[in-house]
């Protein structure tokens, strides 16, 4: 049993408490969902429970946590009993391929070479990783990476597993598979503490819900007690039913276009869609990623681009924005080749897209022109995304959700004919998800085609009118 009593924590150089008097218990074989707004302290709490304080988490901690009455000692010893899967599983890999990674994990625990080899075979079999045992860990899909991490963690027979936003980067199929694995683990007596914004997939795994708000526990209950929409809105939570795509207008892929885009005239030419005409793409020496794709993306509307991982969604977006050149085909607007300069793409990884020393500076850089003239406009955009109070903060000091909102705000700042957003809501809570969806719709209504690449069905339902499915 994991017992958490009165945990209070303040980050170094911060007056504000990130966690305040957090107390709960996690019984053997129990699943507990930890949720709440971005920046409410979920990841901090998981890091503390994973044993990362004080070495990796600097600040002041009071309160205590014990596993079966024993407190945290050495990080390495503690982590063999309390496994931790981070949001980005790739960072947990040290070795080059799947088999080596599992072997290394066991050798680190001083399990003999022969015994480690037997255990590796067992984990490869249980997690269905035999076919990819020699594959580089960097070439795996997100779902496969999570499986490798879980395989290595469970090889040590932990009592508790802590999972930080496991659904953030998974497509629906992989998410379902992860759900199945976690259910088996719970049935085997492993306790799970899962921090996540997406709730629906966890209904059969975690019976209890714990909501954090500003570092304090604001709600403890079960899924039944947050059934009401108003209650969820009040707590800033997402849907609890498995989201079903609403009836969107589907854009057919691969079929001949209904008209010849080169012969457009008059008002149709002025208000045209962006036309993708017979696009094919592959990397040199690699398999075809896109084959003869034709579709149209209507201006002034939000189009969701969906499909399983690896089917070329991001590649298509890069072609649309001129970042990759297709082998065949072209992108047209009003009968002419579409000028790539008139497109914007907001990528998934926020760290690569933030350059300046303040949030306001970042927005001013995006707007261009004279700083004094643009300052008001910049503050206005920041306010729309609930970032105005952070204007003087360093962008790299923001939380994950705040950074995600900032890069989207930066992408929306400049006028464009095509805006592509790649997984813009992977780490967002219900409140900020609604906010983001509203801003995306507002941007589309001012003229450009907006394309969202996402696995987040809730975002699609809230924002999109058209749907393109690849694969």
């Amino acid at each position: 049993m994991l017992k958490v009593k009165g945990i209070t924590f303040a980050h170094a150089h911060s007056q504000k408490k990130a966690l305040e008097d957090v107390t709960f218990m996690l019984l053997e074989g129990q699943g507990l969902l930890l949720t709440g707004a971005s920046g409410s302290g979920k990841s901090t709490l998981l890091s503390i429970l994973a044993g990362l304080y004080p070495r990796f988490l600097h600040g002041e901690l009071t309160g205590e946590f014990t596993l079966d009455g024993v407190g945290q000692d050495d990080v390495a010893v503690w982590s063999s009993r309390v496994g931790f899967m981070t949001q980005n599983p790739e960072i947990q890999f040290i070795a080059g391929n799947v088999e080596d990674e599992l072997y290394l994990t066991l050798r680190c625990r001083e399990i003999s070479g022969q015994k480690a080899k037997v255990l590796v075979e067992d984990r490869l079999k249980v997690f269905g990783l035999e076919a990819i045992r020699e594959n580089s860990v960097f070439q795996l899909s997100e779902g496969q990476k999570q499986k490798v991490v879980l395989a290595s963690l469970t090889a040590l027979k932990p009592r508790v597993l802590l999972l930080d936003e496991p659904s953030a980067n998974l497509d629906p199929v992989s998410l379902e598979e992860l759900g199945r694995i976690l259910k088996v683990l719970v049935s085997e007596g492993v306790s799970l503490l899962i921090a996540d914004h997406r709730l629906a997939w966890l209904r059969d795994i975690t019976k209890q819900i714990l909501v954090l708000d500003g570092g304090k526990i604001s709600f403890v209950g079960d899924f039944e007690s947050i059934k009401g929409k108003e209650r969820r809105k009040e707590l800033g939570l997402r849907e609890i039913e498995k989201p079903v795509l609403k009836d969107l207008e589907r854009i057919e892929v691969g079929k001949a276009l209904p008209y010849d885009p080169k012969n457009l005239e008059g008002p149709l030419k002025e208000n045209s869609s962006i036309i993708v005409e017979n696009i094919s793409f592959s990397y040199p020496g690699g398999p075809a990623i896109l084959e003869d794709i034709s579709l149209s993306l209507p201006s002034g509307k939000v189009t969701a681009l969906i499909g399983p991982s690896g089917r070329g969604k991001t590649t298509l977006a890069k072609i649309l924005c001129g970042l990759e050149k297709p082998l065949h085909g072209q992108v047209l607007f009003a009968g002419e080749p579409f000028p790539a300069d008139e497109s914007q793409v907001v990528l998934q990884n926020t760290d690569h897209q933030l350059y300046m020393s303040t949030v306001l500076g970042e927005m001013l850089l995006a707007l261009g022109g004279k700083k004094t003239a643009q300052a008001c406009k910049a503050m206005g955009i920041l306010e729309l995304f609930n970032l105005h109070h952070l204007a003087q903060r360093h962008p790299q000091s923001l939380s994950g959700g705040e950074k995600q909102r900032l890069v989207v705000a930066v992408g929306l700042a400049r006028p464009t004919r095509l805006l592509v957003l790649d997984e813009p809501t992977s780490g967002l809570d219900g409140h900020n998800l609604t906010l983001m969806a509203e801003e995306i719709k507002k941007t589309a209504s001012s003229g450009p085609s907006v394309v969202i690449i996402t696995h987040d069905l809730e975002l699609i339902n809230l924002s999109s009118e058209y749907l393109v499915e690849l694969g």
Partner: protein
């Protein structure tokens, strides 16, 4: 992510495949003995031996490409040296043969470097690293170094795409020329931030795993094949022949 290791592993396969340790040993021999000898006969023997090794280990197409690049660079260096010889007459080499010696040394090194670099595979390197029995204080950072390179190259790719997206339509090359500080910020700041974050994340992963400087993490034991033994033996014979040639012609 397109993996660095897979790119390397798909590259040139030669007639024989040697272990990583053998390649390292031959590279070490080449760097030491090419410096020890300063006569054309000894260096010619080493050059011949290294060329045979290169042909055995690497595809012809790769050899030709690398040699063309090397010849171009060596040509520029020779030309500059020649011109400098006219300006500073005291620095002119004594004979055309002597002018060749530095190039021969470089060629010997290049011949042993190509198979090592072309055939390097990250997972293989990790195992070799463990087998070399280096001190833990060196082995662990070196393991992390090898592990991190694909991630870093991927970060660079993503950074390049992000910069292209953000700054397109802003005046191209001239925009950057008049803004060196912005260039520094845009290129370097995200890179350093990624490095620091990756350092924290990997350090955390290592500690959670219980990895320490004394962990013995290699899965494969060292097996010297017949080809390995034969090649090392031939390398030793070549070195002995080079010593004999030096003494004989002296």
């Amino acid at each position: 992510m397109q993996d660095f290791s897979s790119k390397l592993s798909n590259s040139s396969r030669g007639l024989v495949e040697l272990s990583c340790e053998t390649r390292l040993l031959l590279t070490l021999f080449a760097s030491i003995f090419s410096l020890i000898f300063s006569d054309v006969y000894s260096l010619a023997i080493l050059l011949f031996a290294s060329a045979v090794y290169l042909v055995l280990e690497t595809r012809l197409k790769t050899i030709v490409i690398v040699y063309i690049i090397f010849a171009f660079m060596a040509g520029i260096a020779m030309l500059c040296a020649h011109l400098l010889g006219y300006v500073l007459s005291g620095m002119r080499s004594q004979s055309p043969i002597q002018a060749l010696l530095p190039m021969m040394r470089l060629m010997i090194s290049v011949n042993t470097i190509i198979p090592l670099a072309i055939n390097a595979r990250l997972s293989g390197m990790v195992n070799s690293l463990n087998r070399l029995k280096l001190p833990g204080i060196i082995k662990l950072p070196l393991l992390i170094t090898i592990r991190f390179i694909p991630t870093f190259l991927n970060d660079l790719r993503q950074l390049r795409v992000a910069i292209r997206v953000r700054f397109r339509g802003r005046g191209g090359f001239f925009f950057w020329v008049i803004r060196p500080f912005l260039w520094w910020r845009v290129f370097f700041m995200p890179l350093v931030v990624r490095l620091i974050r990756s350092a924290d994340e990997l350090a955390m992963a290592a500690e959670l795993k219980g990895l320490s400087s004394d962990t013995d993490f290699g899965r494969e034991k060292l097996v010297f094949s017949k080809a390995d033994r034969l090649v090392i033996l031939l390398a030793l014979y070549s070195i002995m022949a080079a010593f004999l040639a030096r003494d004989f012609y002296a």
